[in-house]
Subunit: 352 residues, 2 copies
């Protein structure tokens, strides 16, 4: 890389973002977007702030944080911080919570950004192998560390773990933060948010991208004890003292307040997911027991990369991860509408 | 700070953002916002993407970067990168360009975030004193360093320096990046953008917050040789692989394309600025020769903090910086409408 760049930048490998085709000719089941539209209240709310865009947005994001606190059953907005998508919030949380000599623990098969943040911020890391059923092996996590992070449901497996598992980790590490990435929580049986007031070392990250059909709005948030939130805010304000843009603050708040709309869409997706999983199993696929808005599948007789390529030829985009080796024969298929999933099943039936 | 926080986070002092009063009862001349509305094309553009918010926004931000490249007279979008406000872009640029043993050089009186970024990212720094007229002393900058950064016009002085000065620094440091922060460039006689294709070590940061009346939209951008842009993108994608939200991408593009609208508003502000400066000088104020959308003023017989407090009582918010000592008796007054500035002058006449 260019000699004008900093030593830090010269060591980074540029990330290649997932495909976002512009021509819309594909059935797009590769980035876990929601197939149903967002709440119409979002449009009204955005329109309502268009006349005030010459002014800086509310630095404290009070209205949005109030709405999230209420939605999450937390005492006040002091338990909430918001960023440009849950990735930004995760990056800030990594800086605020993790570091020092001991490693951060996370599953070996999980959201691929965790090791990227560790490298960027100089955080030691230790990847903990999933068990043979691709589940998190919580017994392993009782070892020296600077913290723990995992998604629940995990990605890309879609497997959800109950609160007892999460509590076991929280109790094993009272002096370190356990960060639970709940990007897919509204497609699962429940959240760890009820544990927040009992465990000052618990932090939860969420996003409006999937459950609230707002991937385009870039809004994620973290829930935690106010002492942890202050740490995240201090990192954020040393990086960029400005908050989410005014349109996103207003739109996200409206979406959060219209919980019924998101719940209805999520319930439809869950029904489609379970119906699709059943059909895929009948075709010989092994399907991870998903509690998210995607299915992680493998077929003992067929090569995943070949299926991926064929589906693409038939106009269906899904996701294939070449690494790690253990999941190289899996595909991650976002759950779309019933019609879209019928197309997937029909196409697979023709192909295989 | 809380023991659960990382060593990094425990050393940070939480930044206190500038006042953003919600009740609108103040004449708000404290954060350099534009008093005129943004282009109506922004509203149309935002409305046009509201139906697509369930999808992730364009990761490469092609349309927005194309528009900026054209507006800036650059060969292609490979010379452009965008972020959530120029603060985010600056933070990414600091990580991409600066580091190592030698210090980053910047003026002792300048944008107060530069030392914050240096502390956050472990970059050595050396503050270079402005001369007695509060101008950047470019002769001093010919010394070992890892790079140079300064705003042009400088903040909070508002003083602009011509391309010859900038070229002297570029030539002194061909192996290091010279980062010119042009947040206020559209209120000044000219930009350094014309030098970009000659100097691969030049990078320029800009924002739509002031000139385009879009502080609420959070869009800033950097212009540089594609090799530098790739470094910024690599840092950005290691931090948060998602781009600006879809509404901001669309709105910012529309604003950039309606350059005539921004130019008209900037010209009005420049006229008001020069008229106001004249009146303030007649009242005994010393006024820095501003080429920005604010005036940096001091009065030999009056205490700046007292004037600040009195103006506030009269419903006018301006900015007072308690530190550094050398500017503690100055006020920074954003240039608003003619009517607002008449109110400032009348109020000062009554008070002093």
């Amino acid at each position: 890389m260019n000699e004008l760049l900093s030593p830090r930048a010269r060591t980074l490998k540029a990330y290649v973002p997932g495909e976002q085709p512009k021509d819309m000719k594909y059935i797009k089941l590769n980035t876990n977007e929601n197939p149903y539209p967002h709440s119409p209240k979002v449009d009204e709310a955005v329109e309502g702030v268009m006349g005030r865009l010459a002014l800086y947005p509310s630095a404290e994001m009070e209205d949005l944080r109030d709405a999230i606190a209420e939605d999450s059953g937390l005492p006040s907005r002091d338990w909430v911080y918001c960023g440009n998508g849950s990735d930004e919030v995760l990056a800030l949380a990594f800086q605020a919570f993790f570091g020092g000599e001991e490693p951060l623990l996370f599953p070996d098969i999980t959201y691929s950004f965790y090791p990227v943040y560790c490298r960027l911020y100089g955080i030691e890391m230790q990847e903990m192998p999933l068990d043979d059923a691709l589940r998190i092996n919580f017994a392993q996590y009782d070892r020296p560390c600077c913290g723990v992070v995992f998604p629940n449901p995990n990605a890309p497996t879609g497997i959800w773990e109950d609160s007892a598992c999460i509590e076991s980790v929280l109790k094993a590490h009272p002096d370190h933060v356990v960060l639970v990435d709940e990007a897919y929580t509204m497609f699962s049986p429940g959240s760890a948010a009820g544990l927040l007031t009992q465990y000052p070392n618990l932090a939860i990250v969420r996003t409006l991208s999937k459950s609230h059909s707002l991937a385009g709005i870039r809004c994620g948030y973290i829930l935690a004890d106010p002492a942890l939130i202050q740490g995240v805010a201090a990192v954020k304000n040393s990086f960029n003292s400005y908050p989410l843009d005014a349109m996103t603050q207003a739109g996200a708040r409206a979406a959060i307040e219209d919980r019924a709309h998101a719940e209805k869409n999520c319930a439809r997706i869950v029904a489609t997911r379970d119906r699709t999983a059943l059909m895929l199993r009948k075709m010989g696929f092994s399907v991870c027991p998903s509690q998210s808005n995607f299915l992680f599948v493998t077929h003992p007789q067929h090569d995943a990369k070949k299926i991926f390529d064929l589906l693409r030829e038939y106009g269906i985009l899904v996701r294939h991860f070449a690494a790690p080796e253990r999941i190289a024969n899996y595909l991650r298929i976002t759950v779309g509408t019933d019609e879209q999933m019928n197309r997937v099943v029909e196409t697979l039936l023709r192909m295989l």
